[in-house]
């Protein structure tokens, strides 16, 4: 009777398609969601790469006019916005989504529909923020005030086009999905670990996911507030950043960087987690100093909230404030440095196997260290005033984000590809791609250090030959061509590999963690039987017991008196619908300032769809199916 009543209240029935287009649109399976994140993010990565390519083409020689000033400014704004929000974060989310339940011995995340909603918010937000390109690259409709959108350049007075509106609304859409994911992962980690898996027995990647998620939920509200203020200024003539009404534009910077600094740790901690999983596997030794690594991760997360004004050393806050932030910034270097030595020690006395994944992990150690060292150089406020807003900072950014995050992501792709797709990527092509990427990246990014120390500021659409910057700009552009060849090799590797049959073994690398105990690709229910975990790296010690250890002490599958069928969460249209509503609302708000007649109807439609999504979500009933696992373990 209750079910009948619920059925009549609902909007749409729960879909049940297992294959085909709609099965993907309505999926709530964390593995499929992870793959969707990964593919979408890789495509956006290519978009961001194309934007970088055009930037470097323009800067190859002094005085070039490959693109106009306005287009160039849109290019560097969108390159950074795309790479940070639409490429790196979602690529890391792809791994967190796919691996988290597998690593803790769970069947899915705590809130599967919410998980799907996060993906759809990302996809629609990403499309939304790029819509301006169709209106013309230099038209002012593409965000072009820099990826941190400083007030008051973003005011209507100084940016009359739609660019900052697309940027503001787009980031709001993207932010909701991310925030929601943060909560989802925390609840999953705290509540759904396999029996016996205490917090200190979790894989380190799960720890980095946990700390990253905490950073997300505490930092995203700051940028949400800032974006809402800017939105209100631009759409409803509010005065938050209105200079004529006495506003402080520095306030934007404080809000932005209160988010922006934790954001960079959001970009690197999961990457460090990936490297911390790859290195032990291909050294055949445990992660050195696991507890210290966990503690360092948490400390970096916490201290990440105490350093934000190091992005503002040139704002003129005075020597007391500048000194304080110099000191906190220096503090954060300590747990970061500790990690590097622990990684080196993991390989010490191990049996290092140089697979493609391992090459990227090793490349990460070298290049992230370089990026971290330029970061250490920026920490001292007085010397920072000679570095900030120059290419020396651009060097730091690219070493930590490419040499750090992207290398880890590429390594992770090679490492976990068999678990995701049931095939092993070609090692030969993988290694070739690594060297092209490594050499290309260093060739394009290392010269940025020189250019910064030669006085070249950031965000310059052109430069004069009299400044002495010609040579290194040319070298940098040549590096981009080499890097491009590397990326194309990776894509070729994907395509070739997907043509092969899906016959990869469950445990191709002699892995240490639970995802390698299940078949490749992972079955839809993950584990036919949830394991009982005895210690950290349980699978490894079950395969290679130490003296006096029994395999069953590490990992066992106790006989449980429960039904042999597994309950799978129900699919749903609602996550996609609930993400679509706010997107349409955003398009409506976009045009309100200019008074276009369709603006208000679009906004209202967006609100209605959102409400419909909430209603449908709440009343669509439990759904779900029971399935029989394929093998008995």
């Amino acid at each position: 009777m209750a079910t009948a009543a619920v059925k009549t209240l609902g909007v749409l029935p729960r879909p049940t398609a297992q294959t085909g287009f709609w099965s993907w649109v309505t999926t709530v399976d964390h593995k499929r969601i992870g793959i969707m994140y990964g593919i979408t993010a890789f495509l956006f990565f290519l978009v961001g790469g194309l934007e970088a390519f055009l930037i470097r083409l323009q800067l190859m020689k002094p005085g070039l006019e490959v693109v106009g000033a306005s287009t160039f400014n849109a290019l560097f704004t969108m390159h950074a916005t795309t790479m940070i929000f639409l490429a790196i974060m979602p690529l890391l989310a792809a791994f967190m989504n796919f691996l988290l339940p597998l690593m803790i011995g769970a069947r899915d995340v705590a809130f599967p529909r919410l998980n799907a909603f996060s993906y759809w918010s990302y996809l629609f937000g990403g499309i939304f923020i790029n819509t301006g390109w169709v209106m013309g690259a230099g038209s002012g409709s593409v965000p072009n005030s820099g990826w941190f959108g400083y007030a008051n350049l973003t005011s209507v007075k100084f940016s009359a086009g739609l660019g900052p509106d697309f940027w503001t609304l787009g980031l709001l859409l993207l932010g909701v999905g991310t925030l929601v994911s943060g909560f989802n992962f925390i609840v999953t980690i705290l509540n759904m670990r396999a029996p016996g898996m205490s917090l200190m027995k979790m894989p380190i990647f799960v720890w980095t996911t946990l700390v990253t998620s905490v950073l997300v939920i505490f930092s995203f509200p700051a940028i949400t507030v800032a974006l809402l203020m800017l939105l209100f200024d631009r759409t409803f003539a509010a005065n938050f950043f209105n200079v004529e009404m006495g506003a402080s534009v520095v306030f934007w910077q404080h809000l932005f960087w209160t988010f922006g600094h934790p954001e960079v740790y959001i970009l690197i901690l999961p990457a460090m987690g990936i490297v911390s999983e790859i290195l032990p596997t291909f050294s055949r030794k445990p992660l050195f100093g696991y507890s210290v690594m966990v503690f360092s991760t948490a400390l970096i997360g916490f201290l990440g909230f105490t350093v934000w004004s190091h992005h503002m050393f040139a704002v003129g806050m005075g020597p007391v404030v500048n000194t304080i932030f110099s000191l906190t910034t220096m503090m954060i270097a300590v747990p970061t440095g500790v990690k590097i030595f622990n990684w080196l020690s993991t390989m010490w006395n191990g049996q290092v196997k140089l697979t493609t994944a391992m090459l990227y992990a090793i490349g990460f150690i070298m290049c992230f260290t370089i990026g971290g060292l330029s970061g250490f150089m920026h920490a001292s406020a007085p010397s920072n005033t000679q570095q900030t807003d120059t290419y020396f900072i651009v060097a730091h950014i690219h070493y930590v984000l490419i040499g750090g995050s992207i290398f880890a992501i590429f390594g992770g792709i090679y490492y976990w590809f068999p678990k995701m797709f049931g095939r092993l990527l070609s090692e030969k092509l993988g290694k070739l791609s690594f060297w092209l990427v490594f050499i290309g990246f260093n060739t394009f990014a290392f010269p940025f250090h020189f250019l910064g120390l030669m006085g070249m500021p950031r965000r310059q659409y052109t430069y004069d030959s009299s400044m002495g910057w010609d040579f290194w700009n040319l070298v940098s552009t040549i590096g981009v061509f080499i890097l491009t060849a590397g990326i194309l090799t990776i894509i070729y590797n994907f395509v070739q590999t997907m043509r092969k049959p899906a016959d990869a073994p469950a445990d191709p690398w002699d892995g240490r963690t639970l995802e390698w105990t299940i078949p490749s690709p992972a079955p839809v229910y993950n584990f036919a039987q949830i394991p009982q975990v005895g210690l950290r790296d349980a699978f490894w010690f079950a395969k290679h017991p130490e003296k006096g250890q029994k395999a069953a002490d590490s990992l066992s599958y106790p006989e449980r008196s429960q039904q042999s069928l597994i309950h799978m969460p129900g699919q749903s249209y609602m996550p996609a619908l609930l993400a679509l509503g706010p997107t349409i609302l955003a398009y409506g708000l976009l045009y309100m300032r200019s008074g276009k007649p369709f603006a208000m109807p679009a906004a209202i439609l967006g609100v209605l769809l959102t409400l419909l999504g909430f209603w449908g979500w709440a009343f669509e009933g439990e759904g779900g199916t029971m399935i029989e696992p394929e093998e008995g373990r």
Binding site: G316, I370, Q460
Partner: protein
């Protein structure tokens, strides 16, 4: 082998960098490594100290990494599992304490320099520097205003009050001092001093719109006697241009006329032109550059600039004159401006 080339490449780059540093970057007009004053000396000094530490640690980690990868490479045919070591307390302490000590050694001079570089000496005189899209205005205590070329006496501290009249800009002349932002609704204070005469390059270093890349300035440091003489001469210019050639007189008429209306945006002291939308042009003839520091100050460049400003500075509000003035008229205005010295 590929992996052996890598440290070679990085090592070469580092040596090149060290070489560039040691031989001095005087051929680089805007390099913060080529220090010419006490403020930059403190800031760049810290930068160099941290640079050497960074290079040292970077080389150490790279070498250690390569050593570990090669020394502990998996030998083919070995099936035994290496000893599963979980950690080492002593090592953790060592590699926590040593970085802390290094950081303390950086923190101490940081605090000193932070206060010293932000506290102008008591005997400094004050110039007000204004940021505009896309030029710099300088108001002197004697009561006159120049633009895009800040003249200062050698060996004397100058206190700068830094403001903006539109969006956030940044005032950066690397050889003399680190940058400070020019922020609307806010007055920032910095100081600088040039210890040698010379023309020092500066640039806006905070993204400020379409022509951010074209917002440059210069600091001209002159021997004290010359500087005092210049101040006198500049004050004498306050009551209007003198000894203009025939062509320049014609140019002045156009400048103050209704065809071009230059006077509606610019100031030339002692004349009808008293507007402050664009830069003060009273002494433009004696500046080393024009158009916000992007072109050498020649009659040809002045003509080209006046004819079509947006061609040089996208987004500028200075109108295109090549339709409404004939080339001869533009040349006359250029002559007029060129004689303002």
């Amino acid at each position: 082998m590929g992996i052996r080339r890598v440290p070679g490449r990085i090592g070469f780059a580092l040596l090149a960098l060290a070489g560039a540093l040691l031989t001095g970057c005087s051929t680089l007009p805007q390099s913060p490594l080529d220090v010419k004053g006490p403020v930059a000396e403190m800031q760049t000094g810290l930068l160099m100290y941290t640079l050497w530490i960074a290079l040292g640690i970077g080389i150490f980690v790279t070498v250690a990494l390569l050593f570990v990868v090669f020394r502990f490479r998996a030998r083919p045919g070995v099936t035994s599992v290496p000893k599963q070591v979980h950690g080492n307390h002593t090592l953790e302490v060592i590699w926590t304490v040593i970085p802390i000590l290094i950081l303390v050694s950086v923190a101490y001079p940081t605090v000193n320099a932070a206060f010293a570089t932000s506290t102008p000496p008591a005997d400094a005189f004050t110039v007000r520097a204004e940021g505009n899209q896309w030029w710099f205005g300088f108001n002197y205590p004697e009561g006159f205003t120049t633009a895009n070329e800040l003249r200062i006496p050698v060996g004397k501290p100058v206190r700068l009050e830094i403001v903006s009249r539109d969006v956030i800009h940044s005032f950066w002349v690397p050889k003399l001092a680190g940058k400070i932002d020019m922020i609307p609704n806010r007055t920032n204070v910095m100081w600088l001093q040039a210890d040698e005469p010379g023309l020092y390059m500066g640039q806006c270093a905070e993204f400020c719109g379409d022509s951010h890349a074209k917002m440059r300035f210069r600091v001209l440091a002159m021997e004290e006697k010359e500087y005092t003489a210049w101040v006198e001469q500049r004050l004498a210019m306050m009551d209007g241009p003198k000894n203009l050639s025939e062509k320049a007189v014609l140019g002045r008429e156009i400048f103050e006329g209704s065809k071009a209306n230059c006077w509606a945006c610019h100031t030339v002291d002692g004349t009808k032109a008293k507007a402050v939308v664009g830069p003060n042009l009273t002494d433009v003839g004696q500046r080393h550059s024009i158009a916000g520091g992007i072109m050498d100050n020649t009659i040809e460049n002045l003509q080209a600039w006046i004819a079509n400003p947006p061609a040089f500075k996208p987004g500028t509000t200075m109108p295109i004159h090549e339709g409404r003035l004939t080339p001869e008229e533009i040349k006359a205005v250029a002559e007029y401006l060129h004689s303002l010295k």
